[in-house]
């Protein structure tokens, strides 16, 4: 069990079965860590900003730098109007993914972003936000997104089809990128870490050799921390780029 790399992704119910109509809403370890991610993120923000000092202490500085970081990103990618409309959404997505990834880095804890249903839900939320805000704000002009300017009329139908496919491929690549990075990272970590007890149990010269996978595990752990941040950042950045299309369709 402890050497099975897939074991860490198993979903286990931790409450008696809950059924809301046809929906199975049983509380599982995945739900627990998603709730924990939200609780830690919002708890930290509330705790860090409790004094609201003009000259911030250390915790308040961290909260303000995080806020400023996302604010700058939304402003760069979607402009002032994007900040006004979408900043809370993007900030929530970023802090949630970041906290979920970070909590998943603890040994024996669970990374909710390693489940594609979680990342796909967030990607589809962004996708439908783009559709609804885009059509609500621009009306038919939103369809200009599919009709690039300066294309000769005889290949325009193909280009429009290609643009439509490209548009619908966005939530897929958006969701898969975060999911695959977290899943692959945790798998590789577990595989390398699993070599250590196996080689140690063999004894003799192999026992000495077990230092190699151990070193690799430590190095990969550092890399995974980078990935945990970078993938949260990339997810939020792509969200901004897609949301910008809702505000300003047409290339």
């Amino acid at each position: 069990m402890s050497n099975d790399p897939i074991h860490q992704f198993h979903i286990n119910p931790i409450s008696p079965p809950i059924h809301l109509g046809a929906v199975d809403a049983t509380f599982t370890n995945a739900s627990l860590f998603m709730v924990a991610g939200v609780a830690v993120a919002s708890g930290f923000m509330a705790w860090a900003m409790r004094s609201q000092a003009l000259v911030p202490n250390r915790a308040q500085s961290v909260a303000e730098i995080g806020y400023g970081f996302i604010h700058g990103m939304v402003k760069d990618a979607a402009g002032e109007e994007g900040v006004k409309r979408f900043f809370p959404f993007v900030f929530t997505l970023f802090t949630f993914i970041f906290m979920a990834n970070m909590l998943g880095m603890f040994p024996y804890w669970f990374a909710p972003t390693s489940q594609i249903i979680v990342t796909a839900t967030m990607a589809l939320m962004v996708f439908f936000t783009v559709l609804i805000i885009g059509i609500g704000k621009n009306g038919f002009k939103f369809l200009k997104l599919f009709v690039p300017s300066g294309v000769p009329i005889y290949i325009l139908p193909f280009v429009v089809l290609i643009e439509i496919i490209s548009f619908f491929s966005r939530p897929l690549s958006h969701a898969v990128r975060l999911w695959a990075n977290v899943l692959a990272g945790h798998l590789v970590l577990k595989v390398f870490a699993g070599f250590v007890p196996m080689m140690a149990a063999a004894g003799g010269l192999v026992l000495v050799g077990s230092i190699l996978p151990l070193t690799m595990t430590v190095a990969l752990y550092a890399l995974e921390f980078l990935v945990a941040f970078l993938q949260a950042y990339v997810f939020a950045l792509l969200t901004c780029i897609y949301l910008n299309d809702a505000l300003h369709p047409g290339h």
Partner: protein
Amino acid sequence: MADRNPPEDRLDNLRSRVAKARGETSSTSQPPDSAASLAFRFGGEFGAAILVGALLGYGVDFFIHTSPWGLVAGLVLGFAAGVVNIVRVASAYNKANPPDPNAPRIPDDDD
């Protein structure tokens, strides 16, 4: 003091001077993309477009019974959309990270 400007002027452009000193330009918050994450992005964009194209083609087949031509056309169009996606990502990346003009020239087959 060599600076003859009245003190109000010095305060006026303080913000821009601080921004300049910090090296802030339009994009302040971008950590550099690693090569691996860029490669992952290319692969994801390309594969996703092919999948979605094939799926849409299959859907057309299912509803108007043109099997297998919808799937074939969807795959081809999805492939094209994947290439479009990659070109978009690459051109956005190149715009954000312009090549160093002083970099040494890499010889190619024509040289």
